[in-house]
């Protein structure tokens, strides 16, 4: 069995719209245990678990939590359910299949940090998830897991669902904060970081949906036990959104350290019609494109860091040899042309020029100079953009220039 189910263990076993069904299946046990301890102990366990954020960047969860706990005055917790990275559907599946686990994770974090208000920000395209999360919050309030004097422990936490309205960049922390404040999702200058100045300039903690779902489990089994699964640098399991030309597309949960090849072939049952794999894109549109020979790479944040991207979302998009690398790159880059917020110059003006250059390759009009231009521009966008969008959007270009360089030369006119 290559799968190991921690965060998806209740999928299909609980009725997502029934809090009783959740409670029967260990629901809110993590919270009960958490509130029987001192808040700092909760963060200590999270630190021991060495869990890293599941939104893509893989930032250690305890650092943010501790920063928020140490902040005084009003502060906020946000669950990032703005899953906009193409190829990902894990957060939607979590919200639709086990919504109380998200609420439980957030309440635990509220207890640990002293935040009294939280938001679940869900992309507007996920209407079903929005409905379910709203109902879930109401049910949790009715049962005393949310609201005032939670579990008679004298702490309050209010939770609100916020709907996105169609913007990928809002998945970036500061863009999301702007959006929660009712504004366009244009990022802010960092530092200060959200845990210093977030929503309405108050300290704000933002975690991915999957990260929150891990917290009740960590509290229940203890951080050390949690860390036994996975690798030294990446503990626990990872939800993998497997899509593209595989036979069995779907959501899988595997321990960190599992190889990409095993996910594709053992869980996904290989490529449809047994066609050869031309390329695999990891993470989503902002992730690297790798060739078949790299598939033995294991799923691990440290490995992913080489790509400077949000590879860690866990998306694996398999593309067979019917497709051209430039088709895929152009879709990615048109996506970013559309999704750039327009605030900073390299991102706003750069992506359109990248598309122009790629079109030259696609149509055999490129010169060697264009190749240099593309390489230079991709690096400048990556190095100088204001927020995570422009800093990661070039990953597929940069990786393709490394692993598929021959494809470029094949299109150059001499």
């Amino acid at each position: 069995m290559i799968q190991e189910k921690i965060v998806s263990k209740r999928f299909g076993k609980v009725n997502p719209l029934s809090i009783d069904s959740y409670i029967k299946y260990d629901g809110y046990k993590g919270l009960e245990k958490a509130v029987s301890n001192h808040p700092t102990q909760v963060i200590d366990e999270i630190e021991k678990s060495r869990i890293r954020g599941r939104g893509g960047a893989g930032f250690p969860a305890h650092i943010k939590a501790r920063a928020l706990a140490n902040a005084s005055g009003p502060k906020f917790i946000v669950c990032n359910g703005d899953e906009g990275e193409p190829g990902n559907f894990k957060d939607r599946m979590l919200m639709e299949n086990d919504p109380h686990a998200i609420v439980e994770g957030m309440v635990i974090m509220a207890y640990a940090t002293g935040a009294k208000k939280g938001y679940v920000y869900i992309r507007g395209e996920y209407q079903n998830a929005i409905k379910i999360m709203k109902a879930t919050i109401q049910a949790a309030e009715e049962k005393g897991f949310l609201g005032e004097n939670i579990l008679n422990k004298g702490f309050d936490f209010k939770l609100e669902v916020r709907s996105g309205a169609g913007s990928y960049v809002v998945g970036e922390e500061f863009s999301m904060i702007e959006s929660i404040e009712g504004k366009p999702g244009r990022s802010r200058v960092k530092p200060p970081f959200p845990t210093d100045k977030g929503i309405h300039d108050r300290p704000t903690l933002i975690n991915n949906v999957e990260t929150f779902v891990n917290f009740p489990y960590i509290v229940l089994v203890g951080g050390e036990e949690f860390a036994k699964v996975g690798t030294a640098s990446s503990t626990g399991t990872k939800l993998i959104s497997l899509s593209g030309n595989v036979k069995n597309k779907g959501l899988y949960e595997v321990p960190f350290g599992t190889s990409i090849r095993d996910v594709i072939f053992q869980l996904g049952k290989g490529v449809r019609n047994n066609k050869p794999i031309k390329m695999v894109q990891l993470g989503g549109a902002s992730g690297p494109i790798i060739p078949e020979y790299m598939l033995d790479m294991s799923i691990d944040f440290d490995r992913f860091e080489n790509f400077d991207s949000k590879t860690g979302t866990g998306a694996i998009i398999v593309i067979d040899d019917r497709y051209d690398i430039f088709d895929v790159l152009l879709i990615n880059m048109k996506f970013f042309v559309h999704q750039s917020c327009g605030k900073c110059a390299p991102c706003r003006e750069g992506h359109i020029q990248i598309v122009n250059l790629l079109n030259k390759f696609k149509t055999h009009r490129a010169t060697e100079k264009d190749l240099m231009s593309l390489e230079n521009l991709a690096k400048v966008i990556q190095q100088t953009s204001l927020c995570g969008l422009g800093q990661t959007s070039m990953t597929s270009i940069i990786s393709s220039l490394r692993y598929f360089r021959d494809d470029y030369f094949a299109k150059v006119r001499y």
Binding site: P184, R186, V189, P346, R348, G350, Q383, T384, L386
Partner: protein, 572 residues
């Protein structure tokens, strides 16, 4: 203190200093584009990026705070390449037909491209040409030149509380426009022109009226006269490279004579007249239970603001026309009669630090014959600078000439109209002495001077203590207006100026107006006042003569016809 290395030089700066400030203080130049002193740090253009040891990314120096031991390189090949690439990207989406742009050689983008050695662009243009907004008498918006630096939005939304402009759309399609992509209009824009004063390129600019003035000057059948606003004499020098705060009063007169004006007059004269009319109006309101607090009326941006946003409080605003319009009305009546010129043969030009004055001059209320404008053309300080350069005048060395008569004598009270608090101080100098019938011990009302957003003072008038207030910028005006609207205003008299610092910081003043420059112009303004032999409007002998000869009495019938106006709501 924090120790760091910039370009291998050991540097020590205070904590919380940005890399940009640290570099500049140590004479290391880092180019910037979206950055503007006194406005928020936007970090949008990314031109000021630097390399910091141990970081892969190139952070912006304008927003990054120094840390102990930091090693910064502001000019590494990586940095220079990134900067150049970014400017090329911006130029590829910019109408870069520089010689067809009024900002040619005065454009921050052009200067930066030149500095970075850009003589060609690796990127093809992606500009999608869009219509130019020139449907109002004041400002021209050409978004084909806009580089989306966001300075104008910051000015309009945060400094002026207006929010006329914002970013519409996103990514390459984003553009800075009014709501619904509409054209600017007097329904929602005050025409303060502060956007145009901070625009680094030629995307927002005042409507150029110099051609109309050249045409008038070249028309032998016209008698062309000009008035010069108080704030122009402390700023025009900057247009020809003189230091901020240079006092050039009589050089302006000489230059205007050189340009061919038949007579050159001082708006200070009608500023004195304003004080007499407005001071008497205040006294009348106080004694006869009129609407209080009374608010000043000389700032056209403020009048637009009040008519749009606070129609409920229009009764509070003095009915006095602004000095510009008092001059226009007197020119086309008193002066025309005196000189035996038909009003239609008289062409009146104003030199103003202000863009909103262009709109004011075109108002229907500002026509004493109900047909022709009293002031025919308004030029900004910048436009006069342009005419001076066009004529190749050696401004700095020009032989100084005094203003013409019959409006020849002016006072220090009028001179300070240009600085925030100046109208209030000038009014108090007169009102105090008229009401209390005693001479002021100290005529300097220093409480109402300076650049605080809202200033307060107390004065004893007729044995009663009254409070007065002064506000500049519309965000501060809004605070006082809300009080007036709610009936909780503790003041008897309020001065409001739209632009930061008052008219010396007007939207039509030379480019590069920052708080530091404003301070210099303010200092010069009070120096002009100090040097005047007469410093109270009611002691101006020419004003006294004008009443004796023509107007007869303040608030009288003639005054009412020529010097007063009314306001109407423009609230949708």
């Amino acid at each position: 203190m924090v120790n760091l290395k910039i370009n291998n030089i050991d540097v020590q700066v205070e904590e919380n200093t940005t890399i940009l400030e640290a570099a500049r203080r140590n004479h290391i130049d880092i180019p910037t584009l979206c950055n503007y002193p006194d406005l928020s740090i936007k970090s949008e253009c990314r031109v000021c990026v630097v390399e910091i040891d141990g970081q892969k990314k190139l952070p912006t120096s304008c927003s990054t705070i120094v840390r102990e031991g930091m090693v910064v390189n502001t000019n590494s090949p990586k940095v220079l390449n990134a900067r150049k690439t970014i400017i090329e990207l911006i130029l590829a989406n910019h109408d870069a037909n520089c010689t067809a742009c009024p900002k040619n050689l005065n454009c921050e983008l052009q200067a930066l491209a030149n500095k970075l050695g850009i003589d060609k662009n690796r990127f093809p243009t992606v500009l999608e040409v869009q219509p130019v907004d020139d449907h109002n008498p004041v400002l021209v918006r050409n978004i084909n030149r806009c580089i989306k630096c966001g300075r104008c939005i910051d000015m309009c939304k945060n400094v002026q509380s207006m929010g006329v402009l914002d970013v519409m759309g996103r990514s390459k399609d984003s553009k800075i426009t009014p709501a619904y992509g509409k054209y600017l209009s007097d329904e929602f824009c005050t025409y303060c022109g502060q956007c145009s004063s901070v625009c680094p390129v030629g995307a927002i600019i005042e409507k150029d009226d110099t051609d109309r003035v050249w045409e008038a000057l070249n028309n032998p059948s016209l008698h062309v006269i000009v008035q010069v606003a108080p704030a122009v004499r402390v700023s025009l020098g900057e247009e020809v490279g003189m230091a901020p705060g240079s006092i050039v009063t009589e050089k302006v007169v000489a230059a205007l004579k050189y340009l061919g004006f038949d007579a050159v007059f001082d708006t200070d004269f009608t500023a004195d007249l304003t004080i007499i009319e407005e001071g008497n109006e205040l006294i009348e309101r106080v004694t006869n239970g009129g609407t209080l607090p009374m608010m000043t009326s000389c700032c056209p941006g403020w009048i637009n603001f009040a008519e749009q946003k606070y129609p409920e409080i229009l009764d509070h605003i003095s009915t006095c026309k602004s000095p510009q319009q008092m001059f226009g009305a007197l020119a086309k009546s008193y002066y025309a009669e005196k000189m035996n010129i038909k009003p239609e043969d008289l062409f009146v030009v104003s030199i103003m630090p202000c863009t909103a004055k262009k709109y004011e001059a075109q108002r229907k209320e500002m026509r004493i014959d109900n047909i022709n404008p009293d002031v025919d053309v308004v030029l900004t300080t910048r436009e006069l600078g342009k005419m001076i350069r066009q004529m190749g005048i050696n401004f700095e060395d020009i032989q100084e000439i005094p203003f013409d008569k019959p409006f020849g004598i002016t006072t220090g009270a009028a001179a300070i109209f240009g600085a925030t608090g100046g109208v209030m101080e000038a009014a108090l100098r007169t009102v105090y002495e008229v009401v209390n019938k005693e001479e002021l011990q100290d005529i300097n009302f220093t409480q109402v001077r300076g650049t605080d957003g809202i200033k307060e003072a107390e004065v004893v008038l007729g044995g009663q203590k009254v409070k007065v207030a002064v506000a500049h910028t519309l965000a501060n005006a809004k605070i006082l207006c809300e009080q007036v609207k709610a009936g909780t205003s503790p003041y008897t008299f309020i001065e409001i100026m739209t632009c930061p610092g008052g008219c010396i910081g007007g939207g039509g003043q030379p480019y590069g107006t920052t708080n530091a420059v404003r301070e210099k112009r303010i200092e010069a303004t009070y120096n002009v006042d100090e040097d005047m032999p007469i410093r109270k409007s009611h002691e101006n002998p020419d004003i006294i003569a004008l009443y004796d000869e023509y107007l007869l009495k303040p608030l009288g019938k003639k005054s009412h016809h020529l010097l007063h106006t009314h306001y109407s709501s423009r609230n949708k």
